[in-house]
Symmetry: C2
Subunit: 269 residues, 2 copies
DNA sequence: GAGTGGTCTAGACCACTGC
DNA sequence: CAGTGGTCTAGACCACTCG
């Protein structure tokens, strides 16, 4: 692949100055993303070595390296020196720390336990349809579950999933599966969550939630609405969690990269 | 600088296998960080070009480049093609978006307005002392301020600062300064915030806060506690904000780098 | 046109893993 | 030991900015 495949120097006469210049390593990155999205490379498995990819694509190893660097920074790939480069997986326990930002107020490192309550099929209302980019009336699945830390209820989640992908989800599957919810989605439904947007507010506890969490009706709860995205920025989950923040808090870090990589990504997808 | 300055191949006999191996570009990164921390390179100013740094340090340009890459990913430096590499500054309006994660529920892009209410000197209690790594009784400064969006009050902040650095802060300075709070800290006190940790909870509104925000006493507010760090992971601000989330919400993105770069950084500082 | 950052290459060597 | 990712180099050329 010489540097002429897509737009580098294609339009030099009277088209436009350089509208969507895409360096070689970005094109390689796109090719790698295709393999990931298509499932040709499964989560947890090793991808070909850098040198093999370099010869396969006809570029230098440094160029492949830069493509993989970005995918690793986005947590889509995982490099392990001496072993290889692996497709990231929610089976890896480190992954769950990224998506559940709840930490105990008083140190410690408790393990979360998920207790599925209900699971049923429904039709998308206007709000869910908008969030999941569906049409109103499209089939969806709804899950309600409780999250406990050391046996104490802390979070009530209501989770909305597109029926086209998760139609066969049942309460039994949720109860029987060992591992996180996203692990189940990845293993049983071939859908991998790679990114999420969360919107947080403080709301009063309604009657039924208050009972489930063991707090007074009307007491303040943290409302966390999340849209999760899979490859190609496709929204595949919308959920609202109500968090009791008496013994836990939502932890966030500010100041590292973020917008930079987001911006970069708009070009590649 | 040949690859022998610090630990690369120094201990090969019977010391230890490779306890704290630090590649060349990390050593360069440390040198660059020293210049930033010392104030030799001021916020907003350009640093020397990559090729000049390369000859100055006696390494290849690629090595300097990799060091700068990491600093840029951490938002300490800002690259601008064709112009140079610049020290990041809170004067740049893009910076404020990183630290104030509040967005209107109904789209739009309102501008925040900060209204200083009080500013006084006090002595550190046990909690503030712990957060700012001070001794109990050390002088501190406390600021209370209101944040408005389109004229409506949304946030009440109480801000605790070490007196050793901010001793001369006054309400007049806060009122007269044009620009964000961190912009003022950077310009008037030479202290640049580069990172922060936030802990979020839902709490009931106390009487005085409720009045300031125009909500009912006891109604749910979002409590945001933040510790901000300057160079060398030195904590230089602790604040608690109470957010009214009737018309706004706290927005967060999950899934990009983060822990990776944090981990890397432990070695360099 | 000169100077800057951005891309790409080819090759050497180092550090880590596992057979 | 072979194979992988990680570092470092030197040099070429491209894209962008500005005087």
């Amino acid at each position: 692949m010489q540097n002429s495949t897509v737009p580098p120097k294609g339009s030099s006469s009277a088209e436009s100055p350089s509208p969507t210049f895409s360096p070689l390593y970005r094109q390689i990155k796109s090719l790698l993303l295709q393999r990931l999205e298509s499932g040709e490379w499964q989560p947890g498995a090793a991808i070909p070595s850098e040198s093999e990819l370099a010869t396969r694509f006809g570029v230098s190893q440094g160029t492949v390296r830069k493509a993989i660097d970005e995918l690793a920074a986005e947590n889509l790939l995982l490099r392990r020196q001496g072993k290889g480069t692996f497709v990231a997986s929610h089976d890896d326990p480190r992954a769950s720390f990224r998506f559940l930002r709840l930490v105990p107020l008083a140190g410690g490192n408790e393990q979360a336990q998920s207790i599925p309550l209900e699971c049923w099929r429904a039709k998308a209302g206007p709000e869910v349809a908008r969030m999941l980019e569906l049409n109103i009336g499209d089939p969806i699945n709804i899950v309600r579950r409780l999250l406990q830390f050391s046996g104490k209820p802390v979070v009530v989640d209501e989770i909305y999933l597109p029926g086209s992908t998760f139609g066969t989800l049942t309460l039994e599957m949720l109860r029987d599966f060992q591992g996180s919810l996203y692990s189940l989605f990845e293993n049983r439904f071939g859908t991998r969550m790679i990114r999420a947007e969360e919107r947080l507010r403080a709301v009063p506890a309604d009657r039924s939630t208050a009972e489930l969490l063991g707090v007074a009706e009307g007491s303040p709860l943290l409302s966390v609405e999340r849209v999760s995205f899979s490859y190609g920025d496709k929204p595949v989950e919308w959920r609202r969690g109500l968090y009791s923040t008496n013994d836990h808090c939502y932890f966030n870090e500010i100041g590292w990269c973020r917008e930079k990589i987001v911006k970069l990504n708009r070009f590649v997808l």
